[in-house]
Amino acid sequence: MNSLFLRVSSGLIVPIMLLIALLLVVRGHNSPGGGFVGALVAVAAISLDVLARDVKATRFIKSAPIAILLGTLSLITCIILARVNGYPLLTAIWYKTTLWGYKIKVGTPLLFDFGIFFIIFGSISSLIVTLVNE
């Protein structure tokens, strides 16, 4: 595909889609979304970019292994953090702090969701990039 319209608009749409993916992951705990859905949106963004440019998709070749590595690391961190704190593996740990007057709760479920996000993203985007490069 070599369409000028697609090429120009993809430059605008792709970053927005990636942002939306991030948003979906972050807010997933309270509203529709989550790591899996976020990853799918991000993969859709990448496929749009890859398809619109009609060139060898060199831009994302390295992103998949990095994403898988990041995902595995964050999942392992989640597993180990519970053990370190003396709970059974994978137990959710929450840290509550107050920042500029806002109550903020940060927990391992968010990290877990990011782990899922990265693994799914890495897996499927690697597939698409390989197929396009074929």
Binding site: F112, D113, L127
Partner: protein, 756 residues
């Protein structure tokens, strides 16, 4: 320092050796093993043996039993290990890649062998047992380009793994009987509970394990085959590790021997048959390493025969044999390796006269091979005396056994004479030696050890006596080596018979090219191949390549089952009112989806059908929205989009033309047979009373306990995060394998394109 930690450091060292094949890492490894050596000799006491619970649920605890027997083996493994590491370092000079692999694997091998001899837990023993099998497999097929090495490595691995598994069954039965994985508890339990009957099958299973590892007849053929390994590996495998594991296990369990009626006969028969078959082969071999391998087999057979005795003398002879055989066999193998390196051949024919002009090498060869032959000034002679004494006092003693052992020992002596003779024979061409610096340093050290132990046999006594007391715990006799007139006569007879055999060999076989008789090996390989052939035949008959055929078969059986279920259970209670509760938007969408599905049947090509399928998916996500499941709807939507992309990307490369043809009647029948009952079942399921407790639990706890308002997400990442983790791993594995398949496909296509 704890032993467990020290072992872990050893394993780490294996990785370091693999990464940095330098002199410094070899030095560190040697220091590591010297640490073990000094510890077991009692010179430095820096290791503690606290037990560590690994998995208490199934009773695996890392407990250690460091007694005389374990100490003897630690001394063997570590002292010969140090020399082997030095030798391997010299052997692989100038080839860092080879050195990295060899040293790393050797270290792994040595650590796992050490694990066998110091653990008190049967399961840990089994694990280390199999680790030695795996590492020896990798070491034997070290040269990947040699098909022969690959085959013999596979043979050895198959035999020892099978034996190990059979032995595991025996261990489990032992645990069932005694209720403990600990070897010491097991021994004391059996010694206090006298049930002789139930132990026989169990013992036979363990004996098979020990016999396969120690290469007893009829599993003996893997050991001569294993000489395909690099010589440092052979030297270590034959002298201190691997093959001694079976002997160790039987020696360790020997205190319960008197409670098992068939222990003595079974062990004696195994030992004697191995001795016989190996002694004949060793004198006929021309390859130096093969000759040495057959003498190892003979030694192992003798050890098994010595284990078939409850006498203190036999145990004494056994431990002495273990130590001494380790020393001279390692030396002999190293000499063979150095000669091979220098003269490019292992054939005795080609190595004729190598010792003629090198006095130092000549002395070295004389010391090592006379020890092997059991000639008087050396310790081998005392050893032979001890063995004869033990055999005379053995409960399985008979004139036949005595004759057999004298004849076989003479044959082994004759093989040693043959080596000595060949090394001093006048060569028929000038020998040209490549340089191999320090190639004889390690065997020379071992020769010094032989001479020293021959001069001061008393220095070894404390070690050997404490090991003997473990094998035969009742005897508290002092270690003794009495040379009686009887044994002296027997020794003289052996030496002279050996000479006669040697002369006979020189007269008869001298100019005849001996062909290796590997009947058992051929039999075994034939067995393995026929199993593989049967598997191939069976697969070809049942699994033909047509995927549609398989799908039809699966779907038809599924349809039959579903129809039986629906006609029996659902149909009698079916009512039209089931349709009335469906939300009208859902109903409309369903009708639309059904219509679209029918058009799918008439699609012209792949792209058409993909487009229709994706529209179907989008409509499905609308149904989810209508039912109030936004998470599901988003996921469905995105999956549909990505599926289209991936399908189009995949199909654009396929050359398959898709033209519309009317589907055969059978396909329509199959489709209806599945879809109709499935529809009814789904309808029925919506009218089943749900167990509300689960959903109520999640709804009640997701905010209070997991701090999240999106219950679906909270379930995914918190309540049931293990499931999610599993799914992520599945997706990762699937994508990795798909990626590999695609890459392989591309490579093959490029290959075809390049070649055409």
């Amino acid at each position: 320092m704890d032993v467990t930690l020290y072992l872990a450091i050893g394993l780490l060292l294996a990785c370091v050796l693999y990464a940095v094949p330098r002199l410094i890492t070899t030095t560190v490894t040697c220091l590591y093993w010297l640490g073990f050596l000094f510890w077991s000799l009692g010179i430095v006491d820096f290791l503690t043996t606290t037990s560590l619970a690994w998995s208490s649920v199934i009773g695996i605890t890392l407990t250690y039993q460091i007694d005389g027997l374990a100490n003897l083996f630690i001394i063997l493994i570590s002292s010969i290990g140090v020399l082997i590491f030095i030798y391997a370092h010299l052997y692989t000079r100038g080839n860092n890649h080879k050195r990295a692999t060899l040293m790393g694997l050797l270290q792994f091998f040595a650590i796992s062998m050490l694990g066998i001899v110091i653990t008190d837990n049967l399961l840990i023993l089994f694990i280390c047992w199999e680790l030695t099998t795996i590492s020896s497999y990798l070491l034997i097929q070290f040269d990947l380009t040699q098909k022969e090495a690959n085959q013999v490595a596979l043979n050895s691995a198959l035999i020892t793994v099978l034996g190990g598994l059979i032995m595991l069954v025996g261990f489990i039965m032992l645990k069932q009987y005694t209720g403990s994985w600990s070897i010491q508890t097991t021994i004391s339990y059996i010694n206090t509970h006298n049930d002789t009957i139930s132990l026989v099958p169990l013992f036979l299973l363990i004996l098979i394990g020990a016999a396969t590892k120690s290469a007893q007849f009829p599993f003996h053929f893997w050991l001569p085959g294993a000489m395909a390994a690099p010589t440092p590996v052979s030297a270590y495998l034959h002298s201190a590790t691997m093959v001694n594991a079976g002997v160790y296990l039987l020696a360790r369990l020997h205190p319960i021997a008197s409670h098992i009626s068939i222990w003595y006969p079974a062990s004696a028969i195994l030992g004697l048959s191995t001795m016989t078959i190996s002694a004949v082969q060793s004198i006929l071999s021309d390859d130096l390493k093969a000759l040495l391998a057959y003498t190892t087999l003979f030694v192992l057979g003798s050890m098994f025969y010595l284990l078939a005795s409850n006498q203190y003398l036999a145990a004494e002879a056994l431990v002495t044999f273990l130590l001494f055989h380790g020393i001279y066999k390692a030396a002999a193998f190293m000499i063979a390796g150095s000669l091979d390196k220098q003269y490019g051949s292992r054939s005795l024919r080609a190595l004729r006269g190598v010792a003629r002009h090198h006095i130092a090498l000549g002395i070295l060869i004389v010391v090592v091979f006379s020890s092997m032959a059991g000639l008087p000034p050396f310790f081998g002679f005392i050893l032979k005396e001890m063995i004869f004494e033990a055999k005379l006092a053995s409960p399985t003693f008979s004139p036949v056994v005595m004759t057999l052992s004298i004849v076989t020992s003479s044959l082994i002596s004759a093989a040693s004479y043959k080596c000595l003779y060949k090394f001093y024979e006048k060569p028929n061409h000038k020998l040209e030696a490549k340089p191999f610096r320090f190639g004889y340093a390690c065997p020379a050290l071992l020769a010094v050890a032989i001479v020293t132990s021959s001069l001061y046999p008393a220095s070894l006594e404390p070690i050997l006596a404490s090991a003997t007391n473990v094998i035969v715990p009742t005897g508290t006799q002092a270690f003794q080596s009495v040379t009686t007139l009887n044994t002296l006569l027997l020794s003289a007879l052996t030496i002279s018979l050996g000479l006669i055999f040697f002369i006979a060999y020189m007269l008869v076989f001298r100019h005849r090219q001996h062909k290796e008789t590997t009947n058992f090996r051929k039999l075994f390989e034939g067995l393995v191949n026929s199993i593989l052939a049967f598997g191939n035949w069976f697969t070809e008959r049942t699994q033909n390549q047509h995927i549609t055929f398989h799908l039809k078969f699966i779907c038809l059986s599924l349809g039959l089952l579903l129809n039986v279920l629906v006609i029996n259970c659902v149909w009698p209670i079916f009512s039209v009112s089931w349709f009335q509760d469906i939300f009208w938007i859902t109903l409309m969408l369903s009708i639309f989806i059904s219509l679209l599905t029918i058009t799918l049947l008439f699609a012209r090509n792949f792209i058409h059908s993909i487009i229709i399928l994706s529209i179907l998916g989008l409509l499905l996500s609308f149904i989810f929205v209508a039912q109030g499941a936004p998470d599901l709807a988003i996921t469905q939507l995105l999956i549909e989009i990505l599926t289209v992309i991936i399908l189009v990307l995949t199909l654009q490369h396929t050359k398959v033309d898709y033209t519309y043809t009317r589907p055969p009647l059978l396909n329509i029948v199959i489709a209806l047979a599945i879809s109709l009952p499935l529809t009814l079942l789904l309808l029925y399921s919506t009218h089943l009373p749900l167990n509300e407790a689960i959903s109520k639990f999640y709804l009640a706890n997701s905010v209070t306990k997991a701090f999240g308002y999106n219950v679906v997400n909270v379930i995914l990442v918190d309540f049931r995060s293990l499931d999610t983790l599993g799914e992520a791993i599945v997706i990762l594995a699937a994508s990795l394998s798909t990626w590999l398949l695609i890459r392989e496909g591309i490579r093959q296509r490029n290959h075809i394109r390049n070649s055409s």
